[in-house]
Symmetry: C2
Subunit: 277 residues, 2 copies
DNA sequence: TCAAAAGTGTTATCCCTACACCCATGC
DNA sequence: GCATGGGTGTAGGGATAACACTTTTGA
């Protein structure tokens, strides 16, 4: 299991020991949610942002750096899914959260303490369901990214701190238009977690088109405008109303409820139609 | 590293020992290719089949059962990709083969010898490039499967032996139309390898639509008819000629070469157009 | 001559984009 | 009244499916 280091000396003492011949596994989880920026104008909708949960590390290596929630596999008792769920329950107090395995990273120098292979997960949640239950060393960061040629620049901020990193996108094989990502610049985020974040975002963008995973990030009742904003935040582009409504028409059911008070025509509230198909 | 058992006693002696507290990792690789069934009719094209390479195990557990090529990770020196490539080179003598990570399986009882987490890979190859180099305990099996409701029945055959298994497809979450697969019946294939095979087939079906991976299974020069057959074998359905030609038009380049001798109009030979885009 | 596959053109249909337009509300 | 988002209809264009048709070969 994970060893806790409180000082650098303690950490360096183990650094050259035989620990490095053993294999450990961890899971790292990118939990995504959508946050709502308040607006001054009483008419306008709050601007939505994609956000990810980070934890401030309290031991070496990467002490005092932000990282994704993650932890070591209990070899005797857990599957990787069990492990990811347990970590999420510890960090967020939330059960029954949607998780999905992303990719298994196995760089030799990933963790200086020992040989670690890490399976990454993506988790989705409606942030409003758990906001005040977070531990004090955890914080939601809004995610913004821009792509120029093959360089993707990320800016993460929680209002007080800013985290930046750059990722390069490369064609992996001549015969695939899937990409491989490598970290170009990263001073603020522990381990290879920038890669986990971009894998999660790519998966999310992909799956929102052909599955219903987006409803894991929505409250029970929502307006179509709110749902459209979430799509727009994830896809990083604007959608036209009529097109959007056609696409999601058979995924939602209109309810009797309406949402008023917005300085405009009240919106009908919808529910996810999980009987569908 | 992997321990070789030549008798069951030897194997059972270790079974209850402390080995089970340690963690090992393996990779398992589903190598797919397309085989060509000969036809009696001189005019007809050979019928194409999807095929997968299996190895006959020579030690416990699962002694004398067929399994996918796979092996233990060298913890000190290898990434998972390195490991998969090394295993493939050992088993097939082929370098520069296309590989792609699929999914990491971590069931607690996957391997009775010890706690094993296994990352599965898919590999693609043009079988004609390596046919006579195979080791004697390796054999290509044609893959046929039929789906009734949520049960998928597989029949694998290499001409002499037949391997069958059944897999059940279940909706994993209400909010995803991705599936989870569980093994219902499996007497002939080692470990959880049926799951690796179906994951690979699903990935292949998906990616053939939006990437160029199929060309990893083609020779340098091919006719559009042959290419279409490969598509049809992988997608498990027939395609209409004009539609197919439109889809792949900008992925291939016509060459001066033609293929004659088929009892019909000669076919132009095409090349993969890897300059594209 | 004929069966089989190679290869091309054409039409009808569907789906999506883009735009236009009206509705209802709170200040 | 008016800005704002809610909500709907429709014309045009592009892609696709389905079909018809011609070409070329080996036996």
């Amino acid at each position: 299991m994970e060893k806790i280091y409180n000082s650098e000396e303690e950490f360096l003492k183990d650094y050259d020991s035989n620990m490095f011949e053993k294999l450990s596994m961890t899971t790292d989880i990118a939990i995504f949610s959508v946050s709502n920026k308040e607006q001054n104008n009483y008419r306008k909708l709050g601007e939505k942002k994609l956000s990810v949960l980070l934890i401030k590390r309290d031991n070496y290596p990467f002490k005092d750096k932000w990282c994704l929630p993650g932890g070591f596999l209990d070899v005797k008792n857990e599957t990787l899914d069990d492990n990811a769920k347990r970590i999420l329950e510890n960090e967020t107090n939330i059960h029954n959260i949607y998780i999905e395995q992303l990719y298994t990273f196995s760089d030799l120098n990933r963790d200086p303490r020992m040989r670690v292979v890490s399976t990454s997960y993506m988790a989705l949640i409606d942030k409003n369901r758990l906001n005040d239950k977070l531990k004090e060393n955890a914080s939601w960061f809004d995610v913004k990214y821009t792509k120029k040629n093959n360089i993707i620049e990320f800016v993460l901020t929680n209002g007080k701190e800013i985290i930046t990193f750059k990722i390069k996108q490369i064609l992996k094989e001549l015969t695939t238009d899937r990409y491989k990502y490598t970290i170009m610049e990263n001073n603020d985020l522990a381990f290879d977690h920038p890669l986990v974040i971009i894998s999660g975002i790519e998966r999310l963008k992909n799956k929102i088109e052909y599955t219903d995973i987006v409803f894991n990030m929505m409250p029970e009742y929502f307006t179509l405008g709110e749902l459209q904003q979430v799509y727009e935040v994830i896809l990083n582009k604007e959608l036209l109303d009529p097109a959007f409504r056609r696409i999601i028409a058979d995924k939602v059911t209109k309810t009797d409820k309406v949402k008023t008070g917005g300085g405009h025509r009240p919106s009908a509230l919808f529910k996810y139609n999980d009987k569908g198909e």
